[in-house]
Amino acid sequence: MPGEAHASRSTLVEPLWLRAALIVAALAFLGLFLLLPLTVVFVEALKRGVGAYWNALQEPDALSAIKLTLMTAGIAVPLNLLFGVCASWCIAKFDFHGKHLLITLIDLPFSVSPVISGMVYVLLFGLNGLLGPWLREHDVQIIFALPGLVLATIFVTFPFVARELIPLMQEQGTEEEEAAIVLGASGWQTFWRVTLPNIKWGLLYGVLLCNARAMGEFGAVSVVSGHIRGETNTMPLHVEILYNEYNFVAAFAVASVLALLALVTLAAKTVLEWRFGHELAATRRGG
C-alpha cells in the first residue's frame, strides 16, 4: 500500500527538472515583458545623471503637467467614487427590472477604445458638435480645457469603483442593513455605520485602481487636450511632447514619475489584498 501511494504521488507532481524549467520559463517571460520595460524607463531617465533628472522635473511645463494631472484625477476620482457607491447600493441591495442591462452598461467604458472615449466629447462639445455653438455663445470652454480632460478621464475610469463594490456588496447581502433599519436607524446612518465599514477596503481598492488609470490615461485625453504647453498637457501627454522634442531624458524622467506611481499603486493594492483579502470581493481573493 505505501508503495502504491508513493507511485501515485510521483505522478501528481512534475519531476524537479520540469518544475525548474517551467519556473525559469515563466520568470524569463515576465522579465522580458515586465521588468525590462520598467527598468529601461529609469535607466533612460537617469542617463545624464541625477542632476539632469531633477532639472527635467523642475521645469515649469513639467510642474504644470503634474499639477494638471493631480487636479484632473482629483475631480474625476471622487465623482466616480460617489457614482460607484450609488450604483452598487442600488444594484446590490435591490432587485429590479433591467438590473443586468445596467451592470452591462456600467462595464461598457472598459470595452470602448480610449480614442473613442475622447472623440465622443469632441463630437458633443466641439465647436462643430451638437452643443458647441451654444457653449461658445455662453462662453464655456469644455474641450481643450480642464472640463474636457476631466470628462474624458471620468469616462475611461467610470467602472472601476462600481465594479469593485457591486460583487462585494452582493456577497454581503442585505441582512445587516435590514436589521439596522428595523432597529430604527435612518438610511444615512445605516450606510455610514453598517455598510461603509464593511466595504471600506474594497472601496479603497477600487479608488486605487481608478486613480492609477485616471493619472495615466493617454488616448482619451490626447483627443480632447489641444496640447497647450503648460496648460492642457497632462503628464502622459507631456511625456509624448518631450519625446517628440528629442528630449529623451526629460521624457523618461516624467515617465519615471508615472512608473513610480504605478509601483506605489501595485504595492498598496498588494498590501490590501494580503491584509484585508477577506474584506475584498471574492474576485480579488484568489491571489
Binding site: V140, Q141, F144, P147, I228, E231, N244, Y246
Partner: protein, 338 residues
C-alpha cells in the same frame, strides 16, 4: 435624510465643473499661438522676445502659450474650438480651412505683407554621414532599396510640401507629363516604410530610431537635427529643384474679438516682420523675407535652390489640396495602390 445631504454635494460638484469651464474661457491675459511641428524652438525664443517688447511698450506682463502638432491636426483643433489667438501654420490651406469654418476672415492672406508669410523655408534631404546611398537628387529617392522617411501628407503640412516638391520635379523632368509625375511620386511613396503624423515624428524616426536612408525635411528641421545630434552624424543634401514653402500666419478673428486680445495678437504677428523677428527666424534656419533686416551673419546661410511656388506650379493651395490630398485624391489613389 439621505437626499438632503446628497443634493448639495452634487450641485457643488456640478457648479465647480461649470465654474472651471467658465474661468478657463474668460482668462483674457495670455494669448495662445497654435503652430505646427518644427517651430517649437523658434517660437519659444520669439515669445520671450515679444513679451519683453510688449512689457516695455505697454507695461503689461504677457504670457504667450504654445501648442504644436501636425499642421492639419492643429487647424482641426482650432476649428473644433481650441481658443487660438493666432495661428502660425505650415501652409495657407490649413488657415483657409479655419477661414472656411468662419473663424477667420476670408481675406486673411492679404492682411499682412508677403502673403502673410513672414519667413519661408524649403524642402531638403537629410542623409546619414558620408551619404552611403549616394543620394543627390529626387531621382535617387525612387531607386529600389532606398528608404525614404516623410510624414503623412494627410496630417502634416511639411509632408504636403515634400509631396508637391517631388511632383513638381518629376513633372518638369518629364516635360510636363502629369501621368509620369504621378508614377514618380507613387514609386517614391513605395519606398516609405513609416508615415508619422507630423514632421517632428518623422525626424525622430530618422534620427533616433535610425530608420531609413533619407529624410525629406523642412530646411530648418534638417539644420536643427545637425545642431542637436552633431554634424558628424548627418548631412544635408539640397536637390536641384524644390518648393518655396510659405508658412502662413493669421489672427483668429472670432477668438480675439471674444477675448479682446486683437491688439496684442496683431502686434505679435507684426513683430515677426521686424528686425528682431527676421533675425530670430534666420537664426532658427527659416529663410527671412527680408535678409537685409536679418543681418549679414545670416546672409550666406541658405543654399541657392531653384524654388517653385504652389501658385505657379499647382494653381494655389485650394486646387492642390483638392486634387492631391482630399479623400479619394491622388495621394489616396497612390497610397491605396501600394
Amino acid at each position: 435624510m439621505l437626499s438632503i445631504r446628497f443634493r448639495p454635494l452634487l450641485v457643488a460638484a456640478g457648479v465647480a465643473l461649470a465654474a472651471l469651464g467658465a474661468r478657463a474661457a474668460t482668462t483674457s491675459e495670455p494669448i495662445l499661438n497654435v503652430s505646427y511641428d518644427p517651430t517649437r524652438e523658434f517660437y519659444t525664443e520669439f515669445n520671450q522676445l515679444f513679451a519683453k517688447k510688449w512689457q516695455t511698450e505697454t507695461g503689461e506682463k504677457l504670457t504667450v502659450k504654445q501648442s504644436h502638432g501636425g499642421s492639419g491636426k492643429q487647424a482641426r483643433s482650432v476649428i473644433d474650438g481650441l481658443a487660438a489667438d493666432v495661428v502660425t501654420l505650415a501652409l495657407a490651406y490649413d488657415v483657409d480651412a479655419i477661414a472656411d469654418a468662419g473663424l477667420i476672415g476670408k481675406d486673411w492672406i492679404k492682411r499682412l505683407p508677403e502673403n502673410s508669410a513672414p519667413y519661408t523655408s524649403t524642402i531638403v534631404f537629410l542623409v546619414r554621414k558620408g551619404n552611403p546611398k549616394q543620394i543627390k537628387d529626387w531621382d535617387d529617392l525612387i531607386k529600389p532599396g532606398v528608404q525614404v522617411i516623410t510624414p503623412n501628407p494627410k496630417t502634416s503640412g511639411g509632408a504636403r510640401w515634400n509631396y508637391l516638391a517631388a511632383w513638381a520635379y518629376a513633372r518638369e523632368k518629364n516635360g510636363g507629363d502629369e501621368g509620369k509625375a504621378k508614377e514618380f511620386v507613387q514609386k517614391l511613396f513605395k519606398n516609405v516604410p513609416v508615415l508619422d503624423s507630423g514632421a517632428r515624428g518623422s525626424t525622430v524616426t530618422f534620427t533616433q530610431r535610425e530608420l531609413g536612408d533619407v529624410l525629406l525635411a523642412w530646411e530648418n528641421e534638417a539644420y536643427l537635427s545637425l545642431q542637436e545630434f552633431g554634424a558628424d552624424k548627418f548631412e544635408i543634401v539640397t536637390p536641384s529643384l524644390s518648393v518655396l514653402a510659405e508658412p502662413s500666419v493669421a489672427v483668429v478673428d472670432s477668438v480675439v474679438d471674444r477675448k479682446g486680445t486683437r491688439k496684442v495678437a496683431e502686434a505679435y504677428l507684426q513683430f515677426l516682420y521686424t528686425r528682431e523677428g527676421q533675425e530670430l527666424a534666420a537664426k532658427h534656419y527659416y529663410r527671412p523675407r527680408h535678409p537685409e533686416l536679418a543681418g549679414a551673419q545670416y546672409a550666406n546661410r541658405f543654399a541657392n535652390v531653384r524654388l517653385v511656388t504652389v501658385d505657379q506650379a499647382f494653381g494655389g493651395w485650394r486646387e492642390a489640396q483638392k486634387q492631391h490630398f482630399s479623400d479619394g485624391g491622388v495621394f489616396d489613389q497612390i497610397s491605396g495602390a501600394r
